[in-house]
């Protein structure tokens, strides 16, 4: 353990204050959800809740279970997106890092360009395409939509990772009688655990928070994810802020949990994504 000077402890104090001010909205969301109605509308606003109660959670999770299917749908879509993204991105990023392919650089450029297009502009053509092949209102449509969002990012951050693996590994494997496929599956894939974790965390979180494809590609309540559930509650609850903030906290909980578990991977993913 390093010894810090007094000045460094003062910096820590400033950091705590900055964090408290900056993250106040999240704190406010959580505290609003556990306050009784009268305290929510108290003036001045009650910064530290006096009575804590979980009525809003009880109502939305146990008494009225209409929220649960939304949560299930969100999990299916987010996990499916993470899976499809990995399935496509892993071999692709590997090939782009290892092989000298004629189309490799062009493909990388196309990925960077398509990533710039707003998701909502992709939604209309995908809606028309999917309605022609009767895929609107399916988990698959939502998974494909969200994968368009996650795939470029996944490939862009995976490629440098493969570049950092020494080439000698596969060469040795080939001498031992592997072809490029078995070398990839047996030698390279087991090494990719950290980057798989980063990419799947990101694609899961992207898909979990998606509203655009949920709004446009799923008009049927049966497959609609939680983000659409929240927009429904916004209409239904109006200014019943305790209910709305409870639903929001429930939807944010997986994000906060995943975030706390994988924060190291998330930070490294963001900085790698902008490196090119």
């Amino acid at each position: 353990m390093r010894n810090y000077t007094l000045k460094q402890y003062l910096l820590l104090l400033v950091a705590i204050i900055i964090m408290m001010v900056f993250l106040f909205p999240i704190y406010w969301m959580i505290t609003t959800s556990v306050k009784p109605m009268s305290d929510i509308f108290s003036s001045p606003p009650m910064i530290i809740p006096e009575t804590i109660q979980f009525d809003a959670y009880y109502k939305n999770l146990i008494q009225d279970q209409s929220l649960l299917p939304y949560i299930r749908n969100s999990f299916i879509v987010a996990a499916g997106t993470a899976f499809l993204t990995l399935l496509l991105a892993l071999p692709c990023a590997y090939a782009l890092a290892r092989f000298r392919l004629m189309w490799g650089n062009i493909f990388l450029l196309i990925l960077l360009v398509t990533q710039m297009i707003p998701g909502i502009m992709m939604a209309m053509p995908l809606y028309i395409l999917f309605s022609k092949i009767d895929l609107v209102n399916s988990y698959l449509a939502l998974i494909v939509g969200n994968t368009t969002n996650a795939l470029p990012f996944a490939i862009v951050i995976m490629r440098p990772f493969f570049l950092s693996i020494p080439k000698g590994l596969e060469e040795a494997a080939v001498i031992d009688g592997c072809n490029i496929f078995t070398a990839f599956f047996r030698i390279i894939l087991p090494l990719t655990k950290p980057i798989i974790l980063t990419v799947s965390t990101f694609s899961f979180l992207f898909a979990w928070g998606d509203l655009i494809f949920a709004l446009t590609l799923a008009t049927d309540e049966k497959v609609r994810p939680l983000t659409m559930g929240i927009t429904k509650f916004i209409g239904q609850y109006g200014t019943q802020w305790d209910q709305l903030m409870a639903v929001s906290t429930i939807a944010a909980a997986p994000i906060i949990i995943v975030f706390l578990l994988f924060q190291k991977h998330i930070v490294s993913g963001i900085t790698a994504g902008s490196d090119k």
Partner: protein, 295 residues
């Protein structure tokens, strides 16, 4: 040549699944948007097929007052957001670039603002901006900055500002992380040299840090413009484009045309305009890099 292709075929197999996916679900939609912008496609003739109608959709859209407003708002929104995100992000990065206990924890905990789904952030800020019970109005009236509570989202003059504030909050940690990573990659010895030469903090910032960070700051700026340009979710949740188009932006306008009016052709026009603007930004960026390298 043929033999070479054949040798490389197993290697191309790695690329093919992703390439097919990108071609079908990413490039095709972009091309489709451009094509459909010249057609009279609506929900009615979706199955039977639409006719080409030349530039009619473009003429219709460009004549509406809404398009001009949406374009203007998108530009104001993007530039204001980028400016404040980068400046505040820079200040926070400079702060976190100092050595103190738990600083990595603070660096990543801020990201919660960026990771939270936009739907949630939107409804949360709607509550914070509430006229009667919102925290922002309470602060402003108690500190006597304003006399009357402001109806942030309910009036034309302040709605865009409120949405901008929300998005600045979302974007700060993202910019901070990137700027901090760039700062940490800077060589340490130039700072010592600057100290020896007697430069003060501001001079060091102006003459050492800023020129060294320029290439990375440019990437961050371009990334920021592209991400901010996409604004949709928080508009839908917080204002729905209103009141009276005060927060109407291009992506939201395109959405309304396609999924509220079901006029796919006109929505294609908006998508094509957005594509055109983004290509211009990308080209400008490439040109700036070239110029930089030539120097």
């Amino acid at each position: 040549m043929y033999g070479q292709m054949r040798n490389k075929f197993p290697q191309y197999l790695f690329l093919i699944p992703a390439a097919l996916f990108v071609a079908m679900f990413m490039i095709y939609p972009i091309v489709y948007n451009v094509i459909v912008s010249f057609q009279d496609l609506t929900l009615m003739n979706l199955k039977s097929g639409a006719k080409f109608i030349g530039w009619d959709n473009y003429i219709n859209i460009l004549q509406t007052e809404r398009f001009g407003i949406a374009l203007k708002n998108t530009i104001i929104y993007t530039s204001a957001c980028i400016f404040f995100q980068v400046v505040i992000g820079y200040l926070m990065a400079a702060f976190l670039n100092q050595e103190f206990p738990f600083r990595n924890f603070f660096r990543s905990i801020m990201l919660l603002a960026w990771m939270t789904p936009l739907v949630i952030t939107g409804s949360l800020f709607k509550w914070l901006f509430d006229v009667d019970y919102g925290v922002f109005n309470y602060l402003l009236t108690t500190l006597q900055i304003v006399d009357e509570p402001i109806n942030w989202l309910g009036q034309q003059s302040t709605a865009l500002t409120a949405v901008i504030i929300t998005n600045v909050w979302i974007g700060i940690p993202f910019n901070m992380i990137l700027i901090l990573a760039a700062m940490q990659s800077l060589p340490k010895d130039v700072y010592e040299a600057a100290k020896v030469d007697g430069a003060n903090k501001f001079q060091t910032f102006l003459n050492v840090t800023l020129p060294l960070l320029r290439p990375q700051l440019m990437i961050i700026l371009v990334l920021g413009i592209i991400y901010t340009f996409k604004v949709f979710d928080i508009i839908l949740i917080m204002t729905g484009g209103g009141p009276v188009n005060a927060t109407q932006v291009l992506p939201f306008y395109g959405y309304e045309l396609a999924f509220v009016n079901f006029n796919f052709g006109e929505s294609g026009v908006i998508a094509t305009v957005i594509l055109f603007i983004l290509i211009c930004i990308a080209l400008l960026y490439l040109w700036m890099i070239k110029k930089e390298e030539a120097q």
